[in-house]
Each structure stands twice: as C-alpha cells, then as structure tokens.
C-alpha cells in the first residue's frame, strides 16, 4: 500500500477486485467474459455525466430521494441516551433501499444493450425492486427464489408477477437464498448474450461489490448532508443491519474516513450465536470462497457451506459482502449481533413509539441501538438506517408478537 491508501479507507477494491484478502473473481470460465464486460461498462458509466444524470433523475422523481433523516424523539427518550436519527429508506418506492442499486444496474444493463434481467431474491424485496425497474425500463425479468421462500413470501411473489416478472422457484441444494444465487448464476452462464444479472447485495464477483456499494452510497451521502443541516456536525455513531450488507455499506462508506464516527454493523444472531442457528458470518464464520468472492462464510471444517438461520429472510445468508470482511479485519467497523427475539421486541416498540413499522432487518439494528444508546451521552448523535418497512413481515411476526403478549 502507498501512503495515500493508508490515509483512506475508501480506495478499495484494488484492480483485481480485492478488499485486503477478500473479494476477487472466483467464477467459472464461462462467466469470466461476462463479468469483464460488466466491469468495463460500469467503469465507463460511473464517470459518464449522462448516465449519472439519468440515475439522479429517477432517484429523485421515481424513488422519492432524498429520503428524510428523521429525529426519532420518542425512541430516543425511551432508550435514554444518545439522540437517534433514522435514515428513512423505508419510504423509497417499493419500500426498501434495494431500489437504489437496482435502478443503477438496470440503467447499466440498458446501456449495454441487454434486454433481459436475472435476479436472485430471498424475502423478495430485491426481486420486487428488480421487477419494478424492469417494468419501468421495458426489460424482461426472471427472478430466482428458493422454493421455501416462494411459499413463505407469497405477497412479494404476487407483486413480482403483477409487475410482469417470471418467478423461478429454486429446488436445488437447500432451496434457500444461497441456492437462488447459484441458480441465477447457472442461468446467466447459459444465457450470456442477452441477459444481465442484477445482484442484490454487495457480494458476488468483482465488480459487483464495488458497484452495488457505490449505487447504495447515496444513503450515507444524503445522511451526512442532512445531519449537517440539522445539527451542524458529524454523527458520533452509525448503526445498520447486515445480511449481505448493502444498506449498511451504503450508509457507512461516505463516513469511513471520518474516523471519529464509530460504526456498528449488526448481524443476525438468530436463536443465538452459541446455538449454531444464526446468520452472523463475521461473528461466527471463517474466510472462504463462495458466489465469486472470498469473504467470511458459515461453513464446516471441510469447507461445505452451512445454512444460515434468521427470522429475517433478508439477513438469512451464509456469507457477507467482502468489503465488510475487510472492514472487520482492519477494525474500522465493529460487527455485533442481535437475536430473533431482540428484533421482535423492537419491531413492536418502534411501531408503537414512532408509528413506523420497521422491517425485521432494521429491527436488528434497533436491537443493538437499544443496548448502545443508553451507554452514550445525551449530546451524542447516532444515525440508524431504517432500510425497509415491515408490511412484508406482518404475517410472520404478528402470531409471534401475540404469543409474547405484545399485541
């Protein structure tokens, strides 16, 4: 590393797509020419004023950006410590941060002359966002979704179908998100000329982790400006939940070089890290290679991937974006975890105190805030990424809240 790089946390990845030892391009030869094409097209697009102007136009007039930065007064009072601001990305069109990235990649696909889009989805949020962008830009859309998730997330499957997408239930492997991603990659290999693969998180082979991060960084860039307007200063801490980690990196990345800002990523601890039933790749995993990149993975001693567990389908992934793995290795971001149970409590609390029904994913971030904010001074400020709304989770969550007497 040269001196400039040592002075910044924002120069990664290198030309080989590495974030320290993580990242890279671990794909079959059939895919190599495709990802090299995507890389070349993206490198051209990211400095192209027309491309960026078009993206900005749709972010503003279609998605509704900038999303508000809202002072959550009642939660702040309840937690009894630092001031809590919520970055309201749940107010985006389609109800989550996923659309920020999808619009960018869909515009890139169009620019490359591709007419068909592939996407993987777990809970269906990325699938819905992709189906939405495909309707908008007149692209054919094929979404791969674990057969189990197709059953559990029927409303999102219905939304995708209404928007014109074809949903492929995936029955290979363990029929979960990781298998949906395997299947999407297999499908792409078989349709290299016509299709573009829109990956939904900051993972996969280079250039996806960098590209998705950059499209999501609008979250942190806005939040920084908005907090300066409201408080005239930087926050003391950032909190975001992490599955693959795209909402978190979107918030974190613009603040990485502001080293006075403490950053927390919250992984899903499921039934508890010790139970083995969790999705916390950094807290409970080891480095390995899956889906085109090296990163921390849930795996056994033989290098076989272990299924993740979380109440939140959006966090239920046995890996994590490679940049998070690097930020973990160098200690710039602190990675912590929250259990299913803790997330459920916050799901109800945030609904009751703020009139905001959070998705289960940011409920994990709130669960850490509930522990951390009381330890901080009242003058201190924390920004939490409210990355999705909870309507999609009601069917799963309400019976559980009922059982616990929280309804």
């Amino acid at each position: 590393m040269n001196e400039t790089q040592l002075n910044s946390f924002k120069t990664m990845p290198d030309e080989n797509g590495r974030f320290g030892i993580h990242g890279g391009r671990f794909v079959a030869e059939t895919l190599m020419p495709l990802i090299l094409q995507v890389e070349a097209a993206y490198n051209e697009a990211k400095t192209d004023p027309d491309f960026n102007a078009e993206l900005l136009y749709f972010q503003k007039h279609y998605v509704g950006r900038p999303s508000p930065l809202y002072f959550a007064e009642r939660l702040t009072e309840h937690y009894g410590g630092a001031k809590l601001y919520l970055k309201r990305d749940e107010l985006n069109h389609t109800g989550a941060h996923k659309i920020n990235n999808v619009l960018g990649q869909a515009l890139l696909a169009k620019k490359m002359g591709k007419t068909k889009i592939i996407a993987e989805t777990g809970a269906g949020q990325h699938g819905v966002a992709t189906a939405t962008a495909c309707a908008l830009f007149n692209l054919e859309c094929e979404v791969f979704m674990g057969a189990e998730d197709v059953k559990r997330q029927k409303p999102n499957v219905d939304r995708m179908r209404l928007l014109g997408a074809t949903v492929h239930p995936v029955t290979s492997g363990t029929s979960t998100l990781k298998d949906a991603m395997n299947e999407a990659l297999r499908y792409w290999v078989a349709h290299p000329d016509t299709h573009f693969y829109i990956i939904g998180t900051v993972a996969g082979p280079h250039p996806y982790p960098e590209m998705v991060r950059n499209f999501q960084s609008v979250i942190g860039t806005e939040a920084k400006e908005q907090l300066f307007e409201a408080e005239g200063r930087l926050p003391d801490a950032l909190i975001a939940c992490i599955g693959g980690g795209s909402n978190a990196l979107g918030l974190f990345h613009p603040f990485l070089d502001d080293t006075d800002v403490t950053i927390y990523g919250v992984e899903a601890a499921g039934l508890g890290i010790d139970s083995g039933m969790h999705a916390a790749s950094l807290t409970g995993g080891t480095p390995g290679v899956l889906h085109g990149n090296r990163t921390y993975l849930l795996q056994n001693d033989d290098g076989q991937i272990i299924d993740a567990h979380s109440i939140s389908a959006g966090l239920d992934y046995p890996g994590i974006g490679p940049e998070h793995s690097w930020l973990h290795d160098i200690g710039r971001v602190h990675y912590v975890s929250a259990t299913d149970e803790e997330a459920l409590v916050q799901f109800q609390l945030c609904s009751r105190l703020e009139g905001i029904i959070p998705a289960l994913e940011p409920s994990h971030a709130l669960a850490f805030a509930a522990k951390q904010l009381p330890l901080m001074d009242k003058e201190q400020i924390v920004i939490l990424n409210m990355c999705g709304r909870g309507d999609k989770d009601l069917e799963a969550v309400l019976p559980k809240l009922d059982e616990r007497g929280l309804l």
């Binding site: 080989n16 890279g24 391009r25 671990f26 794909v27 079959a28 030869e29 059939t30 190599m32 020419p33 495709l34 290979s172 492997g173 990781k178 298998d179 395997n182 990659l185 297999r186 290999v189 078989a190 349709h191 290299p192 080891t286 480095p287 390995g288 290679v289 899956l290 889906h291 085109g292 090296r294 993975l297 795996q299 001693d301 033989d302 290098g303 076989q304 991937i305």
Partner: protein
C-alpha cells in the same frame, strides 16, 4: 504433462481414436460403492477418470451432478475422504490417469500447500478447479506449478475470442473444451460448432483437446471424441448412480450398471473411425 496422461493420449492416438474420460463424484452414493464404481470404469475400458470432490454449492453444475455432490456429502464424504478414495484407486490401477475436479473453497479450507502435497501423494495427475479462472492464478495455479499435477483449463464458447491465449497461458495436461454455454448435463452441442472450436484451440495450443458437457449417448461420445482428442461424460453416468441409489441396488450391481454403460461408450469410441 503427467506421464499417465501422456501415455493415455499416446495409446489412443496409436489406436486412431480419442480418449474416453468419465466423471463421477467421490463417495457417491457412499465410499464403498464409489470405489467399486471406479474399479468397474477401468475394467470397462475408460481411459481417464475425473473424480469430483463434492461441494455443497457447485455453481457450474447441473441438477445431476449437484445431486451427486449432495448424496456424497450426506454419506459423510469430505475432501480428505476424496483423496483417500484416489489413493486406494491408485494402489489398484497404476496407469489410469486420475484428475481431481472440484471447487476452490474446500481446498482453501484444507490448505493449498497441504492439498497439493496430499493430492500428489494420492496419485492424482491433474486438477480441474472450476471457480479459479486465470485472474485468480495466485491462489492455486501458481503454487501448483512446482508440483507434478497438471492444471487443466476449461475453455468455453464464450472464451474463444481474444481471451483464449490468456486462458491457455498456464494450461497443462490437456484442454477441457466445454461444448455448451451452460452448466453440466443440460443441453447438447452442435457437432459443427465443436469441430470449429477444437480447431481454433489447436491453432493456439499444442495440448490435446478433450470435449465435455452435454454428451449423453455412445454415438455422441464417439463422434465428439473423433473431432479432437477425446470426450468426457459425466451427468449421464451420474444419473445411473442416482437411479441405482433410488432402487437400493447393491454396490456390485450399481458398479456393474455403470460399467455396462461406460463399456458401450468405450466400444463406440474404439469403433468410430475419423471421417
């Protein structure tokens, strides 16, 4: 090129035919049956074995080989176990080339240097690691250059352009031509496209070219083997193992069903004379 591979290609050339390579997954459906299947393959006239080291997430494989991997893992197969099967095979069969095929993660977990050492000790002749393109040579290809193991490259229809010399640069053993844009065991390629691809590769490389992916019948195998230096059949063989497993056949019966099929392939290749 490993001595065994060189001898196999030389023998086939002398007989004016291509080689027959067969893929099976180590430990599919269990260790005992797997070893008997391998013995049967050699007896039936197979020239080269491609032994799959099972991985939970085989990105480049179709349903048949995915299922084979999962059956093997379920029966307790590991990377270490795959190397043990290779080692037992080598004790009985001194001459048949054995290529280890797999994905990088189990090797990375095992340790690259240890893996190279143990794979050589087990008597393997080469490696096909699907998710290590030339861009990741630093991981395993470069360390393997000091070993006796050939590092076999996959060439695909999407690689045939400007990228070809780059991919062939560190190739050794033979070139594995993936005849379709897609995953294993799905569609079949057009003979004309295979023929022109093999010729294109041979303009750039002196290594033998063996074609695989989507070869299902003895006729296809014979024809395709004659277009280059050989053919590899995987999914069609693995499907016989799957069916035998469903029917609860004994290890002997499963091995016999597999070798009956591979004998048909071997005979067809021997009988087929170049046009």
């Amino acid at each position: 090129m490993s001595k065994r591979l060189a001898a196999s290609f030389a023998k086939a050339k002398q007989e004016n035919r291509g080689i027959l390579g067969i893929f099976v997954s180590a430990g599919d459906p269990d260790t005992n049956t797997s070893i008997k299947i391998l013995d049967g393959l050699v007896e039936s006239g197979v020239d080269m074995i491609e032994l799959g080291m099972p991985f939970s997430d085989p990105m480049a494989d179709g349903p048949a080989i995915q299922a084979a991997s999962l059956r093997a893992i379920k029966s307790g197969m590991t990377l270490r176990g795959s190397l043990e099967i290779a080692s037992q095979f080598r004790k009985k069969h001194a001459d048949t080339p054995l290529i280890l095929m797999g994905y990088y993660n189990p090797i990375y977990r095992y340790g690259v240097e240890l893996f190279l050492k143990d794979a050589q000790a087990a008597g393997a002749d080469g490696l096909i690691i699907v998710d290590l393109p030339p861009e990741e040579d630093v991981e395993l290809c470069n360390p393997s250059q000091n070993s006796e193991l050939d590092f076999i490259r996959l060439i695909t229809p999407t690689t045939l352009g400007d990228r070809l010399p780059h991919v062939l640069e560190k190739a050794s053993g033979f070139i594995y031509y993936v005849s379709i844009a897609g995953i294993t065991g799905t569609k079949s390629a057009q003979m004309e496209s295979i023929s022109s691809a093999v010729n294109r590769i041979k303009q750039v490389s002196d290594l033998p070219v063996v074609t695989g992916f989507g070869i299902r019948t003895a006729e296809q195998a014979a024809h395709i083997a004659s277009l280059g230096d050989g053919a590899i059949v995987g999914s069609a063989v693995v499907e016989i193992i799957a069916e035998s497993d469903t029917q609860n056949l004994s290890a002997e019966d499963t091995a016999r069903k597999v070798s009956d099929f591979t004998k048909l392939l071997a005979d067809a290749i021997s009988a087929h004379k170049p046009e």
